[in-house]
């Protein structure tokens, strides 16, 4: 029935949203280039695109968060000005941001009411919102305790609060920016039920996601963005994941990395019953045990936030946990208060962190300083007891930059002036060239363009082939499947199971990632 309704509306009504020629630049970055798009009412419209393609920017413009440099917005067929979010809300638009915009110390109710109060006094507004939340909860399966303080809610519940905020403001158009990135598969399914319910009520939904499966599952139409431009808009029923992937990256995607069989050697790293409790008293690692051998790549799959970051931190020497870890057969204390990033480096562990901009690099440091970063104690970088050998570092950086094809190969350029892929290459060059016994890599290709991805994958495989151990953490199943020699799946701080890539597929891994053993 919903389907019939939809096509009926499409035939008669004007598009719920129409964008014409939207452009937006952040300084030198052209985030959106002359983008046009039409979304019909009562549909779910997907937007996909690589990292940095400009999806969030486009939606933020629609929501009045950013101001477009050029272009026109039409809502229900009439041109509107959206200079700020207030105007967007008035136009019936609601948005759930990739990074939630909630006041952590406020209650759910206060967050919902903020900006949508009925009068100068709070009490009547809150009472009204309380009643209205009960109604919405019934209508859309959006239960959440109105008096709970937001910072004490799970991510999934915080997302519900964001959706409730939009619905409370009577949004007819709901934008969700990568809503499932932080959700477990079960939570994601629940979200999709909600979205279908919204569609059934005649609301329009725009869904940004990286996951083709989700696009295929729930959207009616889908737009593809690449490098700030809109490359295509297609009807979901008439497309395939392969076609979408190709549209996304602009060429046929090589899903398979050429690599020979592994020759696993002795156990390099052995982890037993690793546990970790964070500052808020939440147990993030609940008894992890694993082994990595020389000459193999162990891939860790999992939805972000299931303990992978904590695992990497502890093995990288800067997290505090309990458990037994041996490196090359020698017990090491990487879990105690005395450990730090120097301890692990001294043990032959190199670490390419997940978040290169905040951990792996100092953005204001030059390339050569970043190459010394973490290895500033290394004897070959010292001129004497007092001073570092900056000249030698400069020369070495130059060589590394050339070997890793970092562009431009200028050691004195600050890290912030390199593109994301080149920044990642600087980190990789630094870590891999130390010739470590064990390489920890987190999200090696996040936000990296396709050419660089292939290069990075080759380097990782080459390191393995040189007989080193690699621990690869990625949320991209493709990457895990194509690089790993063994795959462990993490869920809720535990290893749910281990599989060989040749004997498993995305479906099975997806189930494990959802905690279904």
């Amino acid at each position: 029935m919903a389907q019939a309704q939809t096509s009926e509306r499409q035939a008669t009504a004007a598009p719920a949203i129409e964008l014409r020629g939207i452009s937006k630049a952040f300084g030198p970055v052209q985030a959106n280039k002359d983008i046009s798009i039409r979304v019909m009412p009562g549909t779910i419209h997907g937007i996909i695109g690589e990292n940095g393609a400009g999806k969030s920017t486009l939606m933020s413009i629609l929501y009045g968060f950013y101001k477009a440099d050029a272009g026109e917005i039409l809502i229900g067929g009439t041109p509107v000005q959206i200079p700020d979010s207030q105007a967007a809300i008035r136009a019936g638009i609601g948005m759930v941001f990739q990074h939630f915009k909630l006041v952590q110390t406020f209650t759910v109710l206060e967050n919902v009411v903020l900006g949508a109060e009925d009068g100068a006094l709070l009490r009547p507004s809150l009472a009204k919102a309380r009643a209205s939340l009960q109604q919405l909860a019934r209508d859309y399966e959006l239960e959440v305790d109105p008096d709970a303080v937001v910072e004490e809610l799970s991510v999934g519940h915080q997302q519900r609060v964001e959706i409730l905020k939009a619905l409370y403001r009577q949004a007819d158009i709901l934008i969700l920016d990568e809503p499932t990135g932080v959700l477990t598969p079960a939570e994601a399914d629940h979200l999709f039920r909600i979205l279908r319910g919204l569609r059934a009520q005649g609301k329009t939904v725009i869904l940004i996601t990286h996951k083709l499966r989700e696009i295929m599952e729930i959207t009616d139409t889908v737009s593809v963005m690449r490098r700030g431009e809109m490359t295509a808009t297609v009807t979901t029923a008439e497309t395939s994941p392969e076609q979408l992937a190709e549209l996304m990256v602009g060429r046929k995607v090589l899903l398979h990395v050429p690599k020979g069989p592994a020759n696993p050697g002795a156990v390099v790293l052995s982890v037993e019953d690793l546990r970790m409790v964070d500052e808020d008293g939440v147990e993030r690692l609940k008894g992890i045990s694993l082994q990595i051998r020389a000459g193999e790549i162990l891939g860790i799959a999992g939805v972000a936030g299931n303990g992978q970051s904590e695992l990497l931190k502890i093995l990288g020497g800067f997290g505090h946990g309990t458990g037994r870890i041996t490196m090359n057969g020698v017990p090491v204390d990487l879990t105690g208060r005395s450990s730090d990033g120097q301890t692990s480096r001294a043990q032959g562990i190199a670490h390419v962190p997940e978040d290169r901009q905040h951990l792996g690099l100092i953005m204001d440091f030059t390339a050569w300083e970043n190459v010394a970063f973490g290895y500033h104690h290394a004897p070959e970088y010292q001129k004497n007891a007092l001073f570092m050998d900056n000249a030698a570092l400069m020369a070495e950086t130059q060589a590394k930059m050339e070997r890793f094809d970092v562009r431009p190969p200028i050691p004195t350029l600050a890290a912030k002036n390199f593109s994301g892929g080149n920044q990642q290459k600087i980190v990789l060059a630094r870590e891999i060239e130390r010739n470590p016994d064990l390489l920890l890599v987190g999200q090696p290709t996040r936000g990296v363009d396709i050419g660089a991805i292939e290069f990075i994958h080759k380097q990782i495989v080459a390191l393995r082939d040189a007989g080193k151990a690699v621990l690869l953490v990625s949320v991209e199943l493709d990457e895990i499947l194509s690089l790993s020699d063994r795959i462990a799946v993490m869920f809720d701080g535990r290893i749910m199971g281990e599989r060989l890539p040749s004997e498993t597929d995305e479906r099975e891994l997806g189930l494990l990632m959802a905690g279904v053993a």
Partner: protein, 322 residues
């Protein structure tokens, strides 16, 4: 043992000395709750003290003085707002600059206007806030215990004292019971949430900074035209910093702010009255009493007595597009 009269006298002095701290502390509370740190309380208070004293001396009208004092403080607030909201500068540095500006300008202008070495002429009559005798103070005076408390402690302060005390419940109500308060607190915790809710972060923050200016203006005017009779160079004598300390002590809440400022007022009253305090063997020098508010604040900040968590977005400019 102290008798009632002594206790009352000390408490009375506490109220007088605590009032400027209370006003300034509430001022800081509004600003910091909105995410704008303000170590310029001292400077604004000093500026307001000077202009209220100077204008009251020239015109003979304390109300004109008060107006001028508040305006001068608002002007400094506007500078702080421009630096920290519009131009996204460092709020701490702006505060430091404002303190120096006030400390220099008050003497410079004072010397130009009065040639009294930075002092204003003494105020008298309508140039000062006179004490207010509350109804029945005289009649109740002879009633034991209650009478003296009412007469000595509660009655007989200047209007600004009552304003300051009334500002406590009023601030509480404004912050926790009104739309304005909700938005103000939100903008200090997560400005992006406020922005995406369709509220102007800039406007909210300016509003908070201006309320801060108003209240520090009152605090300064109180110093020059009620607590004493005229302006003296550097007359705030670190009270702005004590107010800041009290704000931390009170964990950025209005009612505890009353308690904290009165505690610090009490310490000052005791330090005024007694040079050294003999605690049966241990003699506390007066300097220790003077330093106690600062020491207590450090102890609080160290988290040894409860943790003081400032508003989360405090001290940071709201930057949307890099």
């Amino acid at each position: 043992m102290m008798d009632l009269a002594t206790i009352l006298q000390i408490l009375d002095s506490t109220v007088r000395l605590g009032t400027p701290l209370l006003l300034a502390c509430l001022a800081g509370l509004f600003s910091e709750r909105a995410g704008i740190f303000d170590i310029g309380l001292e400077g604004k208070m000093l500026m307001a003290a000077f202009f209220s004293g100077a204008v009251a001396a020239i015109t003979g009208s304390v109300l004109l003085g008060l107006t001028a004092g508040v305006l001068s403080s608002l002007l400094l607030s506007a500078i702080h707002g421009a630096a920290s909201i519009t131009f996204r500068g460092n709020q701490l540095i702006s505060g430091v600059a404002i303190n120096f500006l006030a400390s220099g300008l008050t003497v410079l202008i004072g010397q130009k206007w009065f040639q009294l070495g930075g002092r204003t002429p003494p105020l008298s009559g309508d140039g000062r806030f006179a004490p207010i005798t509350l109804p029945f103070a005289e009649t109740l005076r002879e009633v034991p215990v209650i009478g003296p408390i009412y007469y000595e402690l509660i009655s007989g302060h200047s209007i600004l004292v009552y304003v300051a005390f009334a500002a406590v419940p009023l601030s509480w109500w404004l912050l926790y019971r009104t739309r304005f308060g909700l938005r103000l607190r939100a903008v200090g915790e997560n400005p992006a949430a406020v922005d995406t809710a369709g509220i102007s972060v800039v406007r909210m923050r300016y509003a908070a900074v201006m309320i801060c200016g108003l209240l520090t203006g009152l605090a300064g005017a109180y110093l020059a035209t009620a607590l004493s009779a005229g302006f003296v160079k550097e007359m705030t004598a670190g009270r702005g910093y004590i107010a800041l300390a009290a704000l931390i002590f009170a964990k950025w809440r209005p009612v505890p702010a009353l308690g904290a400022t009165m505690l610090f007022g009490l310490l000052e009253a005791i330090a005024n009255r007694y040079q050294n305090i003999d605690l049966g063997g241990v003699v506390l020098p007066v300097q220790f009493m003077q330093a106690l508010p600062y020491i207590l604040t450090v102890v609080i900040l160290a988290g040894f007595i409860g943790k003081a968590t400032p508003p989360r977005a405090g001290g940071e400019a709201y930057v949307k597009e890099r």
